[in-house]
Symmetry: C2
């Protein structure tokens, strides 16, 4: 990563660094987005965060001070998105509903915060003649794939969660904008991303459950669900790496590790990292945690690795590192 | 096809035919939908058409009299869709923006009339506990496929038109409803469908151009665009056949013929069928008719054929039959 020394100015359109890129990060105050912002600022980009703060947090980007722009806005407010867009070189579109399970209760959550939000981003890009977008998609677009490890060319794509439908719907909107209006796009299909600043997900849930009751841990499903995990800074590094090293009209990559970790193993690791003893791990049963949960995902990350990228953590390493980090962030009695 | 003699009543929920299926056809007043309605009525189903009459026509279903129910409503009116749903056994969801090119001018057309409309159908089904949906998808979900003939398992799916994005977005919503709420679904990826009652498309356009000026025919692109065509009654027959003969949770089929026809050949056939002589066929040039047009599609229909279905027309036969039929419908000087 090149480091460019920068003059802190804090005034929009008044940066003095030659050839720095102007980047807009939707969801930039959130879990993954804030780590990406850290890397982009380090690279010397002019970074604007666009976030509705529904799950983003000011402390995730406060350390950048006036080095970045922050726009508090909602992607469903098309005028606000349009206002933030002019002059942007590259949009990292990461904002979305982070809670997959919510889709089963309020069924238009992902349609709005996923698909329609992506439409608003693309339409704003078209109006402002912004040509590059990198999108946080997900391995859930593969649904219950019959081929594992699953490569990017896998089909058919039958997502089984409403969240997955919004990710595939967003991908499709993006490739249609490429084909119709000449955009360039990066589609990143994330494994389960874990790490510091996590605000949801299985490790986060387990720690909170153990904080409430250190004697037992209830696990949704039979614990045999098995997925690919990637550490969040590895994920952010991979996004930056791929937008620098690939340049097709559509660049689609799985972002993950070569292995998987079971929920049962995650429960054991989290318990180990808490230091609690004699914890009773109890399974609710069934092959999946909730309706729309994919019991097993194993991504083929070889296209990413072929671009010269190596993650610092494998799945189990990412889990253990995350458990240790989140226990510090959340705090235990 | 079984024929069941029916008593004409015309009162909702007051049909006296044993074991007839209650079917809702969105877009049932349109080009493809009205042919499907003909077959469903012939089979003895209780048919309700739900159509906003934006491109549907009363004369396409008037011959059924009080044998069918007609609801004039818009799929973007969720309350209206919900009101039409109770008691339905199977939804044929065919309504959509029929004009692919419109998407490049009014960019939320397909998002609304495709993706969001499909969401409203699915949500209404969930609320009324309706469990079966058959959806008119399209070969455009394949984008510019590298594999031809293209099978249903092809990936990655990168549609290049906004219409294609709405079809893939709708498919994804449907499979997510299957995975989350236990629906059963048929996804029909249509070739270019042509035939009687056509209200748009290349043959329709050519005839209208020749009606206006019988001396010349302007063709968008270089005429080398080459696609699979299917005659509309073949298409409707295939939908009925597959919903009767397949029964997986997701049943995805290409609906097309084994061959293709070029736009150049279509122009020649249409001119032949008009009987006009010395027509100058002029090409605007370029490898596609408009931004988002896929220059070549060739579907693999073998999964359909393996289910025991045979179309009456191949691509060129469908074109010639359609040209002859539409010339009669449109009328020439």
């Amino acid at each position: 990563m090149k480091l460019i020394s920068r003059i802190n100015v804090g005034l929009k359109n008044n940066f003095h660094v030659a050839q720095s890129m102007k980047v807009l990060v939707t969801g930039g105050a959130g879990f993954i987005g804030s780590h990406l912002v850290d890397l982009l600022v380090e690279r010397g980009d002019e970074v604007t965060i666009f976030d509705n703060m529904s799950s983003g947090r000011a402390e995730f980007f406060a350390h950048h001070g006036e080095n970045i722009q922050f726009v508090e806005g909602d992607l469903l407010d098309l005028a606000a998105v349009k206002a933030a867009m002019p002059g942007t070189d590259l949009v990292f579109h990461l904002a979305a509903n982070p809670d997959i399970r919510l889709g089963t209760r309020v069924t238009d959550t992902d349609l709005k915060q996923g698909t329609i939000a992506t439409y608003n981003v693309l339409e704003s890009m078209r109006c402002a003649d912004v040509k590059n977008i990198a999108f946080a998609s997900s391995s859930v677009v593969y649904g219950e794939a019959s081929e594992m490890p699953t490569p990017e060319t896998y089909g058919p794509l039958f997502p089984i969660s409403l969240y997955g439908a919004s990710k595939l719907g967003s991908e499709a909107l993006i490739t249609s904008w490429v084909g119709t209006f000449g955009l360039k796009a990066w589609l990143f299909r994330f494994a389960n991303i874990v790490g510091a600043r996590g605000t949801h997900g299985v490790i986060f849930d387990f720690i909170h459950k153990l904080k409430a009751d250190p004697t037992r841990l209830e696990v949704l499903g039979n614990g045999r669900q098995e997925k690919s995990y990637m550490e969040v800074i590895d994920c952010a590094r991979a996004m930056v790496h791929l937008t620098e090293s690939t340049n097709d009209q559509v660049n689609c990559f799985n972002l993950g590790t070569h292995d998987t970790c079971s929920v049962r193993r995650i429960a054991e690791i989290v318990v180990e990292e808490t230091g609690f003893e004699n914890v009773s791990i109890e399974y609710t049963g069934g092959d999946r945690g909730w309706a729309g949960d994919v019991p097993k995902t194993m991504l083929d990350p070889s296209a990413l690795f072929d671009q010269g990228f190596t993650p610092n953590y494998d799945s189990e390493g990412a889990i253990r590192h995350t458990a240790s980090t989140l226990i510090q962030e959340i705090g235990l009695p």
